[in-house]
């Protein structure tokens, strides 16, 4: 059991209220200078630092090569957050609209600690991958660019997951499955894992291995429920797998749950349609079952109880 007391966490919440680890929005140079982001202009592979001459009070510009910037301290750009959210909602076009400004902003600092370039580039890559082969050329170009930098562990896994997504879109289900299965143990990032499990579910589903698909989809609900956007997607996949497994009543319950739990999601609309179709089949099956039961009951009442061996 977790042994952190209520008192301690409450105390910490109070304490947190007093300090915000706000980002300074600064660039740190190799020689220890701290440059406010507001005072710089990006110029190709260097930054132009606007300073006020103490003696004259006039502006002067100092050019610093981007390679001399060792660290950035910058809050996560809201456009990046919005683009991520759009992807999670299955809307790559919105993500693409948002993300280019972030990629441009951090372009000179691709590998600099604190830079959001790789996160933004991966977001864009994922959005392009969601387009399938439609944006293949742009995808390939960006992919090559990303490959030139050192990605962190979770980012590398995400990169691999996007590759698997593209493989899957190209119809290479076998290699995609192998990749995803290898990637899953390499990260603990819930947002990456939730997507990987959904992709794995989709691959198994495509290969008509519905029990494995179900297991993959359910993993999201059970282990990565913190990823709210992914839950309706995973549950719809699970419901479809159950239908394919002829677990029609279970599928019905799952679809009803999607409607109730995520009423405004696109998956709720799909669930409603699939539920209508399912109920037709279930209605017929239930009637047949009832007829059979009635017949059996009738037969039983006509006969006296006996024991046979």
């Amino acid at each position: 059991m977790l042994s952190i007391s209520t008192r301690l966490t409450t105390g910490l919440i109070m304490a947190v209220s007093l300090i915000s680890i706000s980002h300074a929005q600064k660039l740190f140079t190799t020689d220890g200078k701290e440059i406010p982001w507001a005072d710089v202009t990006l110029q190709g592979s260097s930054v132009a630092w606007r300073q006020i001459e103490a003696s004259t009070g006039k502006d002067r510009i100092v050019n610093i090569p981007a390679t001399n910037i060792v660290r950035l301290d910058f809050p996560e750009p809201s456009d990046l957050q919005d683009a991520e959210a759009a992807i999670n909602r299955g809307n790559p076009d919105t993500a693409l609209e948002k993300i280019d400004s972030v990629i441009k902003q951090f372009a000179p600092f691709k590998s600099t600690p604190g830079s959001y370039w790789s996160a933004a580039a991966l977001t864009k890559l994922e959005a392009l991958a969601m387009h399938g082969t439609k944006s293949a050329e742009e995808y390939d170009k960006l992919r090559t660019e990303i490959k030139t930098i050192n990605l962190s562990g979770p980012a590398q896994v995400r990169f691999g997951g996007i590759d698997a997504l593209i493989d899957f879109a190209k119809g290479l289900s076998g290699p995609a499955k192998t990749s995803v299965i290898k990637l899953i143990p390499q990260t603990d990032d819930a947002s990456v894992l939730a997507k990987l499990y959904i992709l794995l579910g989709d691959i198994h589903y495509k290969l008509a291995d519905y029990p494995s698909a179900l297991e993959a989809y359910l993993s999201v609900s059970v282990f990565y429920g913190s990823q709210s956007d992914q839950l309706p997607i995973a549950e719809l996949g699970a419901a479809r797998s159950l239908t394919k497994m002829d677990r029609l009543e279970d599928s019905r319950d799952m679809l009803n749950g999607i409607k109730e739990r995520y009423p405004t999601s696109p998956q709720a609309q799909s669930a409603k349609k699939e539920l209508d179709a399912l109920m037709k089949i279930l209605g017929a099956a239930t009637q047949a079952k009832a007829d059979e039961a009635e017949k059996a009951e009738k037969a039983a009442t006509e006969k006296s109880p006996e024991t046979t061996k």
Partner: protein, 1024 residues
């Protein structure tokens, strides 16, 4: 005198407010600083000097000096009547004194400003500062009242609301605090301050017993980027919130539990945040050193508070790191919540994960029990049983042993595992003698004894039962079962005694008819024994007396016409008639076959269990077929179809109905009529099932229909006999089909017509089945006439392959029945369409796990893995097919296992399955040739060359008709001879192979190329 409120000062105001907030957040408020006020200014000059000093001290942030000087300045201004800009002085007094925690003077002068200057420029800031001073001086009620006054001031509201909430909270006005924080969070959770407020609000909701609202908040903030600083706290808060409500409010608890991240992720994220905070503290420390004096000193509280916070976070992190059961606890609770919500699929996965990944978890046994419950609810009884057994083995003293035991008993019985069922039942009876279900469990154990043929044990159990529960509701059943133990031991004397005893004790007993039936069987056994003893070969005149059994059985049927064992009784009658000797038949004056067949037919009609039904149907079919009683045969099956509409053998019965009807027909007209009728009847039956992929047996009827649709051969012209005196009539032939009309096309049209192929009534499954019927038709129709040479016939293999290609391309695996999945999957695999073949096989295995065709899937998947050089996976699939699902593909599974083992160099294991193939005469053919080839390969790999040669030679000697294998036999034998150092023999074998191919005019075949390649490899000239 004018004191300028410079931009520096104004900026400082905000800083001071924040500074006060920060500084007073230390655990124990420091005592108010002692101020030593300088003497009052006596004149304007002194006043000006004092103002200058106070202003300088204030601007340089030396508040300890500024505070008292400013108070003196205010007092002097009153004394001297110099009141210009005194409002600003009051405000500065408030700031400076608050900074040094001199709450009383700060408050006094701020109040003076508030009351004296209601339209003053700093009124809002003063009001805010009053609230903060009250708050940090511990007057939370006063503070709340003050903040209330300014909560709606637009530029202050975001600052005021969190403080107001906290003030209410600290003055025990939780409900008010909730209102205020809710108000504050209306604009969202997009900042650290807001996330912090949200967490406090969630805590408040819990304290006022509104967990649903608290959980709602946790759910909203869990993925907010601003929540990154709080990940470990959110986890802890979510867990603290969820666990008490898993039972009572599982839906809410689940939401909170789902917000919790796994341990490794939390540790990783929190460590990263701690690094950020550490960097911040270092930054503040550098700033403190860089800025001399009070300006630098303002960073000290930040450093202290930051360090305190870092320490707390590190402690939390360490606690999480040390908690071995962190993830398991969460997953276990998630499993419980899902179970309570009846979402058993998710719950099962959660509990299974505990068993698999956290076996040492404190609640692992409860998790396993939870999983068992889920499996039962999901109707996965075999899995539930298996796990129950594991539970009892792993946790013999577990808290759920009684429930698991009873489940294990009943489920074991359901899957015919009576050994476990009995052992489990006895274990419970032993360990829990007062169990309320003890008598029931004892009866279970006795039932198991019957099923295990342990009749002595059963008798002992029944004796024990009689002692313990002498007069309970099961007394009659116990007595009857006791008698039956002798029956099943073939102790006829005791059986007669005990059953007679039962009948006399319970003259109207529930088992009376059954007892008499058993006695009938004893009598039948006696007659059989006597007949055997009489030896009919030596004594053909021997007259049996089965009629005494027949009379007894008939008497039972007469007295109890609705008995549930009528099927058994008629089956016994059939057996008796069947076993009568000729002398008894003559004396009885009966038609033995007729009576026997009739009895079995009655038995089939009355049977209430499938064993009796199958027995009677099979026996009746044999008798009726032998006697040519096709009408009765048809009627019996028609009755079956009618009375058992959901029986799995229903379609098989339809097959027999049609077959019988065809055989009933004698004349051509009758045959044609029967054929037409069958087409109609079959199509009706097929159409009722054709769209349902899970109905087995439809394909059998489709084949029958396809056969019925083959155009019949044109009868020879019939010339009626000439009537005397009249000219001979002209020969009349039926209207012939167009001479070039392909019977397949004619039959296809018929199939389309009967199955409504173009009417839109068929779904994907139906369409696929129609295609299948056409393929079967194509396989059955005679070869095509060669248009170039009408005497020649063209083999239809290529046509069949083409049609199969079209079908396989068109159909969707999800639409296919088990038969079609096997059929299509195999075709696709052979054609190299691997992904779709895999889809077919996976669906076959998963959707039709009990189908007779499952081994097609396993062997097919094995073949795919083998072709992809994944030999371990291939072996796994082949082995499963061989050991767990032996069926039509059993020989292929054997071959697959051997090949996969060979490729993994498991040479010792390869021979056994191959020898099983070679030794089975029923499989003799190409598969045997292949097995010999691999036996040769296996021997060669182990350098057992003479043995290898022997196997290779057997291929072309015994299976010469299989060209490819024969050539492989020759070439491999040649290579082996080369290894043996006998090049002449190597050469002679290759030349013999050359002659073999020449003789068959196969010089241009791939086999010849193989031969040439081998010759080149061995550097042997084939000659001409």
């Amino acid at each position: 005198m004018k004191i300028r409120c410079t931009s520096l000062t104004c900026a400082l105001l905000t800083g001071v407010a924040g500074f006060i907030t920060f500084a007073t957040a230390a655990p124990a408020p420091a005592p108010a600083a002692k101020s030593s006020e300088p003497p009052l200014a006596k004149n304007p000059l002194e006043f000006a000097d004092l103002a200058k000093e106070a202003s300088a001290a204030f601007e340089s942030q030396d508040f300890a000096v500024a505070g008292p000087k400013l108070i003196t300045l205010a007092k002097s201004s009153e004394a001297l009547g110099l009141k210009e800009k005194i409002d600003e002085v009051y405000y500065m007094i408030g700031i400076a004194n608050a900074q040094i925690k001199a709450w009383a003077p700060a408050l006094e002068y701020l109040r003076k400003y508030e009351t004296g200057y209601p339209t003053g420029a700093y009124l809002k800031d003063v009001a805010m500062l009053i609230g903060k001073v009250l708050f940090f001086s511990g007057d939370f009620k006063g503070s709340a009242a003050q903040f209330e006054k300014i909560r709606n001031v637009p530029e202050l509201t975001d600052q005021v609301l969190p403080l107001l909430g906290e003030a209410y909270e600290k003055s025990d006005q939780g409900a008010e605090a909730v209102k205020v924080l809710t108000d504050f969070l209306k604009k969202g959770y997009g900042s650290t301050e807001r996330i912090n407020a949200a967490l406090r609000l969630a805590t408040l909701y819990l304290s006022v017993d509104q967990p649903e609202k608290g959980i709602e908040i946790i759910d909203k903030i869990k993925n907010s980027p601003s929540a990154a600083d709080f990940v470990i706290i959110i986890n802890a808060k979510a867990q603290e919130t969820a666990i008490p409500f898993v039972e009572s409010k599982p839906d809410l608890a689940l939401v909170a539990l789902q917000a919790i991240r796994r341990k490794s992720e939390v540790v990783r994220l929190q460590e990263a945040r701690n690094v950020v905070l550490t960097n911040k503290i270092a930054e503040w420390t550098r700033a403190r050193s860089a800025l001399k004096g009070p300006a630098g000193a303002k960073f000290q509280p930040l450093i202290e508070e930051g360090s305190a916070r870092l320490k707390q976070l590190q402690e939390m992190l360490e606690t999480v790191k040390k908690d071995e059961g962190y993830d398991a606890t969460v997953i276990y609770q998630i499993g419980r919540a899902f179970t309570k919500l009846r979402r058993y699929w998710e719950a099962e996965l959660a509990f299974r994960t505990i068993g698999k990944s956290y076996p040492a978890f404190a609640n692992a046994s409860s998790a396993m029990f939870g999983q068992i419950v889920c499996l039962v609810e999901l109707k996965k009884k075999e899995d539930a049983l298996k796990l129950s057994k594991e539970y009892l083995k792993a946790y013999p003293k577990g808290g759920e042993v009684p429930q698991v035991s009873e489940l294990a008993v009943t489920m074991s019985m359901e899957v015919n595992d009576f050994v476990t069922a009995k052992a489990t039942a006895n274990e419970i009876l032993k360990s829990q003698p007062d169990n309320p279900s003890a008598s029931k469990l004892a009866l279970y154990a006795i039932t198991c004894d019957f099923s295990l043929y342990a009749f002595k044990d059963a008798r002992a159990g029944l004796d024990e039962y009689r002692k313990k529960w002498p007069n309970d509701a099961f007394k009659e059943e116990v007595d009857y079962r006791y008698a039956l133990t002798f029956f099943f031991e073939n102790n006829y004397a005791e059986t007669i005694k005990q059953l007679s005893n039962y009948i006399s004790t319970y003259p109207n007993g529930a088992y009376k008819s059954d007892a008499r039936y058993r006695l009938g069987i004893v009598m039948y056994g006696e007659e059989q024994a006597a007949k055997t003893k009489a030896n009919l070969k030596k004594n053909p005149e021997y007259k049996s007396n089965f009629r005494r059994v027949i009379n007894e059985v008939n008497d039972v049927l007469k007295g109890d016409p609705n008995t549930l064992i009528a099927g058994e009784l008629y089956a016994l009658l059939g057996d008796c008639y069947d076993q009568m000797t000729a002398a008894e038949v003559t004396e009885a004056n009966i038609d033995q076959d007729q009576e026997t067949g009739d009895a079995y037919m009655h038995g089939a009609a009355k049977a209430t269990n499938d064993d009796v039904l199958d027995y009677c149907m099979e026996q009746a079919r044999t008798k009726l077929q032998a006697a040519g009683r096709w009408k009765e045969m048809r009627t019996m099956h028609e009755e079956f179809v009618k009375s058992r509409p959901t029986h799995p053998d229903r379609l098989k019965a339809i097959y027999w109905v049609c077959k019988a009807r065809s055989r009933e027909a004698k004349t051509l007209e009758e045959k044609n009529a029967a054929n037409e009728y069958n087409k109609k009847f079959l199509s009706e039956q097929i159409l009722g099932n054709i769209n349902r992929s899970n109905t087995e047996g439809v394909e059998m009827l489709l084949e029958q229909l396809a056969q019925a649709c083959i155009p019949k051969r044109k009868p020879k012209p019939v010339t009626p006999a000439a009537e005397p005196g009249k000219p001979a009539p002209v020969a009349v032939a039926p209207a012939p089909a167009a001479p070039d009309e392909d019977p397949f096309l004619v039959g296809s049209k018929e199939l389309e017509k009967w199955l409504g192929g173009s009417t839109g009534k068929l779904n994907g499954t139906g369409e696929a089945r129609l295609e299948y019927a056409k393929v079967q038709l194509l396989k059955m129709v005679p070869p095509k006439v060669d248009p170039a040479d009408p005497k020649k016939r063209i083999d239809r293999t290529a046509e069949v392959d083409k049609l199969m290609d079209e079908m396989a391309q068109k159909v969707k695996p999800d639409d296919l029945s088990s038969t079609l999945l096997a059929f299509v999957g195999e075709h696709l695999r052979k054609r190299g369409v691997i992904e779709k073949a895999t889809q077919c096989y996976n669906r076959l295995m998963n959707s039709f796990p009990k189908s007779d065709y499952v081994d097609f899937a396993l062997v097919g998947l094995g073949d795919i893995a083998f072709e992809q050089k994944n030999y371990a996976e291939a072996e796994k699939n082949y082995t499963k097919a061989k050991d767990e699902m032996p069926g039509m593909k059993y020989p292929n599974a054997l071959m697959g296992v051997a090949k996969a083992q060979f490729m993994q160099q498991k040479y010792e294991e390869v021979e056994k399955p191959l020898l099983e193939i070679v030794g089975n005469k029923e499989w003799k053919g190409e598969l045997t040739a292949e097995a010999l080839y691999w036996l040769g390969q296996n021997a060669f790999a182990q350098k057992k060359y003479p043995e290898a040669v022997n196997y290779y030679q057997r291929i072309f000697l015994s299976f010469g008709k299989f060209t490819d294998w024969s050539i492989k036999g020759y070439t491999e034998a040649a290579e082996t001879f080369r290894a043996l150092g006998e090049p002449d023999k190597a050469k002679s074998h290759l030349q013999e192979a050359r002659d073999y191919l020449k003789k068959r005019k196969l010089e241009a075949s791939p086999a010849m190329q193989l031969l040439k390649d081998k010759a080149a490899k061995l550097n042997i000239s084939l000659g001409s």
